[in-house]
């Protein structure tokens, strides 16, 4: 009797789990275009857009550089010193973690973090280095000042 009940519970769980897993796997890229509207996401589990990894890579590349300013001199700051989390088995900075942190929408919080972290500098400049096509023109790169933190 108990075994039967247990198996029923397991069966219900397995069905729900499989439905949820596959729904979240295809929701963003397949179901939403199909229905033409955003569909609800299951909170607390599953990535926002399915199991995507390096699924679309092109010839453009960009990264963030951070400069500390002191008495009209600029000093480039090693991004590993900005966030000191030393991940095991890989380099978080190479994964582009600074790009997300230093984006325009985070500018206030990021500047606040820099001021706390590097007290010696008067100001900080956040630069974006951009390669429009690093295959055809590997040395053609552009730099853009994203924002300054202000003194």
């Amino acid at each position: 009797m108990m075994k039967k009940l247990r198996n029923k519970f397991i069966t219900v769980f397995v069905i729900f789990w499989c439905l949820a897993f596959h729904y979240e796997s295809v929701r963003h890229f397949y179901l939403e275009p199909l229905f033409g509207r955003p569909l609800p996401k299951i909170k607390f589990l599953f990535p926002p857009a399915g199991w995507i990894m390096f699924y679309q890579v092109d010839k453009a590349y960009g990264y963030i550089r951070i400069f500390g300013m002191k008495e009209d001199q600029s000093y480039e700051i090693d991004p590993h010193e900005v966030f000191r989390v030393r991940t095991i088995g890989f380099d978080n900075i190479h994964r582009g973690v600074i790009n997300a942190a230093a984006s325009q929408r985070n500018s206030r919080a990021f500047c606040q973090h820099l001021r706390k972290r590097f007290k010696d500098f008067d100001d900080f400049k956040i630069l974006y280095t951009y390669y429009p096509d690093f295959i055809a023109e590997p040395y053609a790169r552009y730099q853009q000042l994203l924002y300054g933190c202000g003194g």
Binding site: C18, D91, R117, F134
Partner: protein
């Protein structure tokens, strides 16, 4: 249909593979979360730079967690350290797993910045499945030493958790490949792998051997990419087909090792996926292999462990050793079997010797007593492998025997003999 469903999810099989996987999960979670806890003030305390994941969490939950005082953060850090350790050693396995998962959710909601990756989401899905039952505490655990029953590795459980984990990894590969060739993926129409290999510094590619040669061969790289997609798309079928299963497991492990060596992507893939692929090995086959090894050892001249059968603590320890002795390496003998029958003890031992400490007799002639016994047997019992660094730690040759003698002297006070 019902028969197939039963075979897939409800059939009872040993949970020994799942138990080993539990240790891998605990280590993997620790490897991701621990580095972020080193700089608590910078990452999690009040006023730290934070990123909130509103896609993953409902807003009310994020708001609630953001109100945490620093003391609560510290309490969660302590809970994480304790529960990840107890999960690893398998003490209250299910409760520990739930506690670790709660801590993971808490830190993720507090600041998603460092942990928020696809691999982290995969890890959380895995953790959720591991929380559903405590089957993973059946072996390689303190729980199995606490429970009654002689052969914990033979205990059978419904297979559904392991099956769902198999499906999870199989479909993760499948969908990863599907996105590369459909939706917005460009692995068929372009050469993304070639671009990844040629990223300017800092880039995401590690400085691996042959990188400079491979990155100049776009055609080779393109077809390698196509090969990767084909493998990812088809591996789920090869994993579930018995004749191709082991080849697919090896291929999957090789693929993860390659990923780890060449790209700066979270090591979670490298730590967890190979172990997850090994879950495709049928636990019944593992059990058959164990039993075969046990029969081989039982029919040969095994080292004999002599213990004091009148002491409750000694009997409890021997019961624990028997559970750890997965391959039946040892023969366990109560010294009173010799003393009461007037038979001579082996290897020239006397009653004075054997009533003071336990002895291991090898080849019928070589006797080792006390702490040395642990140093001899730890190489043969998989459950003791993790203790090897402690047993052989510099200085343990002096401290170990002292501790052993202290326990041996007071053994009758530790657990009363029934």
């Amino acid at each position: 249909m019902k028969k197939l469903w039963d075979r897939l999810f409800l059939e009872e099989r040993p949970a020994i593979g799942l138990s080993l996987f539990r240790m891998v999960v605990a280590f993997t979670v620790w490897s991701v979360v621990f580095p972020s806890l080193v700089h608590l003030k910078e990452l999690y305390f009040h006023g730290s730079f934070r990123e909130l994941n509103g896609n993953f969490f409902p807003i009310w939950f994020l708001e609630l967690v953001q109100k945490s005082p620093d003391g609560l953060v510290t309490a969660f850090v302590a809970l994480f350290h304790i529960s990840v350790f107890t999960l690893f050693i398998g003490l209250f396995s299910q409760v520990s797993c739930i506690a670790v998962t709660l801590c993971c959710y808490y830190f993720y909601a507090l600041n998603a910045f460092h942990v928020s990756t696809l691999s982290w989401d995969i890890l959380l899905v895995t953790m959720f499945l591991m929380c559903v039952t405590g089957y993973h505490g059946d072996y390689f655990s303190v729980d199995c030493l606490r429970r009654k029953g002689e052969k914990p590795w033979e205990r059978t459980r419904p297979f559904f958790v392991q099956r769902l984990l198999q499906l999870q990894i199989g479909f993760t590969f499948f969908y990863t490949a599907l996105y590369k060739v459909s939706a917005q993926g460009n692995w068929l129409t372009d050469n993304p792998l070639f671009y990844v290999l040629n990223y300017p510094a800092p880039g995401v590619t590690k400085m691996f051997l042959l990188r400079d040669i491979i990155r100049t061969m776009p055609n080779l790289v393109y077809w390698s990419g196509i090969f990767i997609v084909i493998v990812e798309l088809s591996i789920i079928f090869f994993l579930f087909l018995r004749p191709t299963r082991m080849a697919a497991v090896y291929l999957g492990i090789f693929f993860q090792a390659l990923l780890f060596l060449t790209l700066d992507v979270p090591a979670t893939f490298f730590f967890m996926f190979p172990a997850m692929l090994l879950l495709f090995i049928d636990p019944n086959e593992i059990l058959t292999w164990i039993q075969k090894r046990q029969r081989i050892h039982q029919s040969s001249d095994r080292p004999m462990l002599l213990f004091d059968g009148s002491c409750g603590f000694c009997k409890w320890s021997v019961e624990a050793l028997k559970k750890m002795d997965l391959f039946s390496i040892l023969e366990y003998k109560n010294v009173y079997d010799y003393l009461d029958s007037g038979k001579n003890l082996p290897a020239g031992l006397t009653s004075d010797h054997v009533l003071k400490r336990m002895y291991l007799v090898e080849n019928g002639t070589d006797a080792y007593g006390g702490y040395i016994v642990f140093r001899r047997i730890c190489w043969h019992m998989p459950m003791m492998y993790l203790l090897i660094p402690i047993i052989f730690f510099p200085g343990m040759g002096i401290v170990g025997p002292l501790l052993y003698d202290l326990v041996a002297k007071n053994r009758k006070c530790l657990i009363k003999s029934p």
